[in-house]
């Protein structure tokens, strides 16, 4: 006992220090998960995240699939936003350009940011955007109307993917949200001023 006493006096502190380092690492990991999750989704198409590739397809495929286009606008953004066509058919490896029509219905400048995904989720890894309006924040002047292109193709690799065998139709969806500058005031005055729905 006596021989080991000095060592054992420090040992609990060492164990505790190691455990604190471990817990701190997990905490850091939880924050790191934000960029990691984004990178993971972008790399694997997890959760229906489309891929990006400015280069375009390298091969032509055989299968023909339907791609449907969906558009949503948040309540607090006074925009009309809809695809020019409801759906198209295309062969894998074929690059297509489609347009979304957008109009600011208000008399002041507004800005929005799009969230997007494709469904079914497993199609994300094979839906490749060459160019898209959704990559940055968009501004529209009063009553301004525009047409925004999306350039994309379906990766022929999907023909080899077991999970894509049953998929005939892929939907690309955008949801525009008003750009937020800061967190809204949290007093109950502003909350109550809003009429109840």
């Amino acid at each position: 006992m006596n021989a080991t006493a000095p060592r054992s006096r420090n040992r609990p502190r060492l164990i505790a220090a190691a455990l604190i380092v471990g817990a701190t690492a997990m905490l850091a990991l939880s924050f790191a998960s934000v960029p990691l999750y984004r990178a993971f989704c972008a790399a694997t198409g997890f959760g229906g995240t489309p891929k990006t590739d400015a280069a375009g397809p390298t091969a032509r495929g055989e299968r023909v699939l339907t791609v449907r286009f969906d558009a949503n606008v948040a309540r607090d953004l006074p925009w009309r936003f809809e695809p020019e066509v409801a759906k198209i058919s295309l062969r894998t490896g074929e690059t297509k350009t489609i347009y979304y029509k957008v109009a600011n219905l208000s008399d002041h400048e507004t800005s929005g940011q799009a969230a997007y995904n494709v469904t079914p989720g497993q199609a994300g890894a094979f839906f490749v955007k060459v160019a898209c309006f959704c990559f940055e924040e968009k501004r529209l002047g009063p009553r301004e109307a525009e047409e925004w292109p999306v350039v994309f193709y379906l990766d022929p690799a999907l023909e080899r993917e077991e999970g894509m065998r049953g998929v005939r139709e892929i939907t690309l969806s955008y949801s525009f949200f008003a750009t937020k500058d800061a967190a809204p005031s949290k007093t109950s005055e502003t909350a109550i001023a809003r009429p109840k729905g």
Partner: protein
């Protein structure tokens, strides 16, 4: 000292009541399609391929297996309590290891789980892989109602909100908390794809008779599908907590023949003309 026999009889009694009920629970009773049945014990009558698959998986595979395991464990407990209580067996054995036994009770559950996973994963693929749809409806969750849109390329081009009918306005035969003002109509025997998203917080679209449940998440489009095999009115509800009126945003889908569906489309186009605009105005005033 506590009377062991009394434990036994009471335990056995509890089991005798609980377990037949467990067994019955797997079998759906005759009921009107599409709405919950009073005092129902099992799954609702299913009217879609996925729903029937779910019913089969639960009633034929999962339910019998879990009932058997529950009975088996209960039986072992009762036997052990009877055979090895301190009166019946005053001298305890020193048995603490039996490697073959341990291997068996590791392997058999693995086999059971493998057995379950085959039909389960097959059904999963059927649920997730949406077949080619002839009708696609877009459903959007709101606090606290659902909005539907029928796309233009399939004879639609209109949208409407579906709100709960207040209790004071119910006609005889209409269901409290389930009846709505505007039913969503779809044709039978055709694949209906449902695109689901939300305009505020998370909701979930679910219709028990279809075996369908899918979250409505803002900024994200989800999809599911169903193919209804008979006419009827099918009720669903919101399956994710979304605020104070979570319990007050039902879903009603009316399934009709293709002819009646086309008629409805024509009527609805007129009835809901400009509704898209109306919805927008209504939501802006919020």
């Amino acid at each position: 000292m506590f009377n062991v026999n009394r434990v036994m009889t009471r335990g056995a009694l509890a089991a005798a009541v609980a377990l037949p009920v467990t067994l019955c629970a797997g079998f759906a009773l005759a009921q009107e399609n599409g709405q919950p049945v009073p005092g129902g014990l099992g799954l609702p009558n299913m009217v879609t391929p996925v729903g029937l698959g779910t019913q089969q998986l639960y009633n034929m595979v999962l339910m019998p297996i879990i009932s058997f395991i529950a009975l088996f464990v209960l039986g072992l407990l009762i036997y052990v309590a009877y055979r090895f209580n301190e009166h019946a067996n005053p001298i305890p054995s020193k048995l603490t290891h039996n490697t073959p036994l341990e291997i068996i009770w590791t392997l058999i559950p693995v086999l059971i789980l493998l057995f379950i996973s085959v039909p389960s994963l097959r059904l999963l693929a059927e649920q997730v892989e949406v077949p080619e749809a002839s009708v696609t409806i877009k459903v959007t969750g709101n606090q606290w109602y659902w909005s539907y849109k029928y796309p233009e390329d399939q004879g639609g081009g209109f949208g409407f909100d579906q709100m709960l009918k207040p209790e004071s306005e119910l006609q005889p035969g209409e269901l409290r908390l389930l009846t709505v003002d505007n039913e969503a109509v779809v044709p039978i025997n055709e694949v209906i794809a449902v695109h689901i998203t939300s305009n505020d917080v998370i909701h979930a679209f679910g219709v028990p008779s279809f075996g369908v449940r899918m979250d409505a998440i803002p900024g994200r489009l989800n999809q599911t599908w169903f193919k209804i095999d008979r006419e009827g009115v099918y009720y669903g509800q919101c399956y994710f907590i979304c605020g104070k009126d979570h319990a007050y945003m039902p879903i009603v889908i009316r399934a009709v023949t293709r002819e009646k569906y086309n008629e409805w489309l024509a009527q609805a186009k007129q009835k809901f003309a400009g509704a898209d605009q109306r919805v927008r105005v209504a939501s802006e005033s919020r």
